[in-house]
């Protein structure tokens, strides 16, 4: 091959700069445009109610997307999050409704249920990580297994039946509000903050980016690659667990067939639109949040102006394709 160039700077600076800007700030720009558009043409847009509606819908996606972002940052993907949400959302009511073990104190039962549900999802996430790190199975395939089987497990647990409940100690997660803002928004904010902190201030964060950025180099630098992979999939599972609880709390109902359906796509979309490379090495968490908000806003804009919901799916598809293409084009220059 050619001799290594030592003093020449990388070429293509200007095109790369342009594409990089689009990729990093495209979501922000789009969001800004949409916001302006809505303020202009959508009635009642600037109201607390609108904010609440949108926040409620987007919170669970963001919670899952945070975990997804970490997995993608290591060069992987997690398709099982929707199914893990279902398992969590089905397990919790079973516990605090006393179907698994009878506990007198409702508050205690609720606490136990929350811990158990999230813990279960985390454990299953760990299983995903084990398949990927121990056997070297492609993440798509490894997480596909729980994608298929996970929802089935949830359905089997309740025989496909809808569980409704009236447990205010639990329902506040989804129905309560603080200062007019839904509780789950605070949950989401807490998770995002925790993830941001972890990525910036801990060893773990650096290692995640290193593993995804150049796995061979990470191995040669003696980084704990296997452990990192196990950890991110476990975290993704935990996030899915939390999201599952939020979903069932919103309606005080748990439907194993519906919880988390399609959430994995929404999470991946948020990450892609937010500017993190799907190939790994980057975790723009705030971008992901923005990505989710942008997609939600697109959907809302269309809905509020009479465009059928189905059309927003097509638009969403187009946006994701564009975001990914920009990311790849930028990387290639």
């Amino acid at each position: 091959m050619t001799k290594a160039s030592s003093t020449l700077a990388p070429t293509g600076g200007r095109t790369r700069g342009g594409l990089a800007w689009c990729s990093r700030y495209g979501a922000l720009a789009a969001f800004g445009v949409l916001l302006a558009l809505n303020i202009a043409i959508t009635p009642y847009f600037l109201s607390l109610q609108t904010l609440n509606i949108n926040l409620t819908q987007v919170c669970t996606i963001i919670i899952v997307a945070v975990g997804m972002n970490l997995v993608i940052a290591t060069g992987g993907i997690d398709l099982s999050v929707g199914s893990l949400m279902a398992i969590s959302g089905v397990l919790a009511p079973m516990i605090f409704l006393g179907q698994v073990v009878l506990i007198g104190n409702t508050a205690l039962a609720v606490a136990l249920a929350i811990v158990a549900a999230i813990g279960m999802a985390g454990l299953l996430g760990l299983f995903n990580g084990w398949l990927v790190s121990r056997f070297g199975i492609q993440p798509i395939v490894a997480t596909l297994i729980l994608f298929i089987a996970g929802r089935g497990i949830a359905q089997v647990l309740v025989d496909g039946n809808l569980q409704t409940f009236s447990v205010p100690q639990f329902a506040w997660i989804g129905q309560g509000a603080l200062l007019g803002i839904p509780t789950q928004a605070f949950v989401m904010a807490a998770i995002v903050a925790a993830a941001l902190w972890a990525m910036r201030r801990t060893r773990f964060g650096r290692y995640v980016l290193a593993v995804g950025g150049n796995e061979r180099a990470a191995l040669m630098a003696a980084l704990p690659v296997r452990r990192i992979k196990l950890a991110v999939y476990a975290i993704s599972g935990l996030c899915a667990g939390v999201a599952g609880l939020v979903v069932i709390a919103i309606n005080s109902a748990s439907d194993a067939n519906q919880i988390g359906l399609g959430t994995e796509l929404d999470a991946i979309a948020a990450v892609a639109v937010g500017g993190s490379s799907l190939g790994g090495g980057q975790a723009h968490l705030l971008g992901t949040v923005l990505g989710a908000l942008t997609i939600q806003l697109i959907r809302y804009t269309l809905l509020a102006n009479g465009v059928p919901d189905a059309a927003s799916l097509v638009v969403k598809a187009g946006v994701i394709a564009l975001a990914v293409w920009l990311q790849q084009a930028q990387r290639r220059t």
Partner: protein, 322 residues
């Protein structure tokens, strides 16, 4: 060598398991091997079989097609809308729509160089949306007077028409794979894209072709869905791609591409379909009651076993080589 014994297990594992399962069912349940039951299984699984055939070729090139379910749903709506024109009309509409989706996939993969995973995820969303738009968010009834339903509900002699279509296409697929340069190209592309390019084969053209074919087959599956159930259903098709991937992998095709068998895929499809029947019969015996939901769990377990086995073989081979 242990590796080759495991490989032979892959190749024939699905078939063996299928035979074992059928034997189990025949012994345990009455009427398991009845003509009605066998044909019924064939008819129900015809759609999945078609989708799996397309998926098999795509996976052999080292790719994946997550859009097949949504495309089938879209095609079913298109076919239902065109059903007043008879079998030809409905068929043409469905297959054309599927083919178009496949072409989009092929272009995005070979021209825009997007990863197959993301590409087909995007087309899946888009197809889903288009299906709902086209159908107006509801099922679209087919015309019962034009003879369209014959393709889904009719019989030729004792065989359901869908089953015959499947058999014909699988035979064709197997022939193409084993006896044509194009078929070998599919394997070469998955087994070594750069090498196949240097050998004078054209991996990009091959990839484009398999995605287009996968789309067309999904379209045909959608036609059968509409004709068989009497309505074009925009929300059906969820999970079809999983069924297909599971069938293909269980049939022994390598997920990384480069090796596979069309007939083994059929065995994988039948295995998964027979499992459902066995569950029904088992419930009918009244001893245990396993809900249909157990299917996905069992499918997941089967996929797990095969995937872990494949990975172990790969790892061992890698260690052997270096």
């Amino acid at each position: 060598m242990e590796a080759s014994r495991l490989e032979r297990l892959f190749k024939h594992g699905a078939t063996l398991a299928l035979v074992a399962l059928i034997a189990f069912g025949a012994i345990r349940y009455d009427n398991f091997l009845s003509l009605y039951n066998v044909m019924s299984v064939c008819r129900t699984n015809a759609m999945f079989a078609l989708v799996s055939l397309g998926m098999c070729f795509v996976i052999m090139t080292g790719g994946i097609d997550l859009s097949v379910g949504a495309v089938a749903a879209l095609a079913s709506v298109a076919a239902a809308k065109a059903s007043p024109l008879g079998v030809t009309g409905g068929l043409a509409a469905g297959v054309a729509v599927g083919f178009a989706a496949g072409v989009v996939n092929g272009l995005l993969v070979t021209r825009a160089r997007l990863l197959p995973f993301i590409t087909t995820l995007v087309t899946m969303l888009a197809a889903n949306g288009c299906a709902l738009l086209l159908a107006g968010n509801q099922s679209v009834a087919v015309s019962y007077t034009s003879g369209f339903t014959g393709i889904g509900q009719g019989d030729l002699g004792v065989f359901p028409v869908p089953a015959l279509i499947v058999v014909a296409l699988y035979a064709l697929g197997s022939l193409i794979l084993h006896r044509t340069s194009a078929g070998r190209s599919v394997l070469a592309t998955g087994g070594g894209e750069e090498a196949s390019r240097l050998m004078g084969l054209r991996p990009d053209a091959t990839k484009f072709a398999v995605y287009a074919a996968s789309g067309a087959l999904a379209g045909l599956a959608g036609v059968l869905l509409a004709a068989g159930s009497g309505a074009g259903q925009p929300t059906e098709g969820v999970g079809w791609e999983l069924f297909a991937i599971a069938s293909v992998v269980i049939g022994g095709t390598l997920l990384t591409g480069g090796a596979g068998s069309v007939l083994a895929t059929l065995a994988g499809v039948l295995l998964m379909g027979t499992l459902f029947t066995v569950l029904n019969f088992e419930n009918g015996l009244g001893i245990i009651s396993l809900s249909a939901y157990w299917q996905s769990v069992i499918r997941g377990l089967m996929l797990l076993a095969v995937v872990v086995l494949q990975a172990t073989v790969m790892q061992r081979r890698h260690r052997h080589a270096t």
